[in-house]
Point group: C2
Amino acid sequence: MTETFQNALNEAAAQAQAYIAQALAGQTGSIAQGMIYATQGGKAMRAFLVLESARLHGLTTALPAAAAIECMHAYSLVHDDLPCMDDDDLRRGQPTVHVKWDEATAVLVGDALQAMAFDCVLHVDATAEARICLAQTLAQASGLRGMVGGQAADIAAETAATPLTLDEITALQAGKTGALINWAAMAGARIAQAETSALKAYGDALGLAFQIADDILDVTGDAATMGKAVGKDAAAGKATFVSLLGLDGAKRRAHYLVQEACDALSPYGDDAETLKEAARFVIARTH
Amino acid sequence: MTETFQNALNEAAAQAQAYIAQALAGQTGSIAQGMIYATQGGKAMRAFLVLESARLHGLTTALPAAAAIECMHAYSLVHDDLPCMDDDDLRRGQPTVHVKWDEATAVLVGDALQAMAFDCVLHVDATAEARICLAQTLAQASGLRGMVGGQAADIAAETAATPLTLDEITALQAGKTGALINWAAMAGARIAQAETSALKAYGDALGLAFQIADDILDVTGDAATMGKAVGKDAAAGKATFVSLLGLDGAKRRAHYLVQEACDALSPYGDDAETLKEAARFVIARTH
C-alpha cells in the first residue's frame, strides 16, 4: 500500500467516524452507542471512494455522503451478522452488535443506521438535483434491486438444490457488495453533476474484484488477521468464485478486474492514481 | 365513520397498495412477496393523512409520499413483530412475516421496505427543495430521534426498575408512533411548501390520541376484531396510558386530544372536515 493511499484511507475513516459521532452527539442509550460502535474499526473503503471520487471533480464537500455510505454499509453488516442470518460473533476483530448487546438492539441499530444514511446524504453541499440523485441512487443500491436483493439471493443459495453458476454468483455479488461500492465510486461525479460512465466502469470492476478477493481470503486468510470468521463458505459447501474458478483462476480474474478498473479511469489521467492504488490494494492481500 | 371519510380511507389504501405493487412489478422471490404482503391489509391511515393534507393544499400528486409512509410503517411492524422484539404471530389478522416465511426474510423485508420508502418519497412531483425536505424529515421521523428511538425506549421500559411516568410514556410514544403520523399529516403542506404549523399541531394531537386509543383497545378489544394479540401490556405489567390514567381518564384524555386536533385545523375552514373525521375515528372504537 502506498503512503498516499494509506493516508487517504485513514483520513476517510477518521473523517467519516467524526461526522457520525458529531451527528449522534448528545444521544445516549444503547442504540446510539451501538451505531457508533458499528461504524468504527472498518477500513472505510467506501468513504474513501466517495471522498476521492469527489476530489477528482475538485470537490471537498462530500463528507456527508462518505458518512452516509459507511452508515449504510455498517447497518448491512449488523443485520447480516444476526443469528437468523449469517450468525457471526466476530466483526472487525470485535464482538458483533447482537453479541455485545442483544438481538433487539442489533435490529434497531441497523434500522437507525439506514435512516441516518439517508439523512446524511441529503446534507451534502450540492445542488438540490444532485442531492436527490444521490439519495435516490442510494435507495436503489441498498434496496431490493441492490444490496438486500443480493443478500436474499445469498441466503437462498444456501438451501438451493444445485450450486449457483458463475453468472448467478456474479449477479448476486453485484447486488450484495457491488451496489454500495459502485455507488461510492460514482458519488463524486454525481455530486458534481458530471459524466459518471468512467467511475461506473471503475466501480463495477472494483466491486467484483472486492468480492472475489473476499472469497479468496475466506480460504487463505485466518480469523485473527481478518477480524471475522473464515472458511465458512467452504464448510457450508457454498459455491464461491474460488470453488468455481479454483484459487489460481480466482486470483487471475481478480487481477484482470483490477486492470479493468484502472483502465476505466483513463479520462482522469494522473489525477486518478490514488483510486488506482485502491483497486490494487483490494487484491494485494490475496497474493 | 362518515361515508366521505370511509371512502377516502379506502381510496388511500387502494392507491398506496397499487403504487407499491407497481413499483415491485417484475420482482419475484420471497422478499418482494413479503414486501407486498406486509403493506397490505392495514387501514392505511398514514397514506390517507398524506393524500388528504395534500388535497387541502390543492395537490393531487402526493401518492408516492403516501406509498412511502406505508412502506416505512410496514417495515416497522415487520421488525417489531420479530421474536427478539415483541414476538407477535398475528398482524392485521394474518400470520406475521417471520411466521409465514422466516426471521431472515422478515429482517430483509423490513430493510428493503425502508429503502423503498426513501425511493418512493423522492419521486413526489414537487420542487427539488420540497422533495429533499420530505425525505430529510422522513429520515428524522423514522430514525433514532423518532420511531426507532421510541421503540428502543419501549423495550428498555420492559426491564426498567420503575414503571415509566406519564411524561416518559408521552415522549416515548411521540417517537414510536407519533413521528410517522405527524410526518404524514404535515406532508401535504411540505409538498406545497406552505405553512406547516396547523398540520403539525393536528398531527401532534392525533398521534398521541392514536396511541392512547391503542392502549385502551389493548384492554377492551379482542384479538379477533383487532387482528393482533391484545392484553399483552397488562400481562407484562407495562405502564400504559390506561394504567396511569385509568380507563375513564385515558378516554377523557383521548377525547380532549381529538378536540385539540380538530381545533388546530381551523385555518383550513370547512375543507378540513375529512381530516377532522379521521381524528374522531381514531377514538371511535374505544367508546
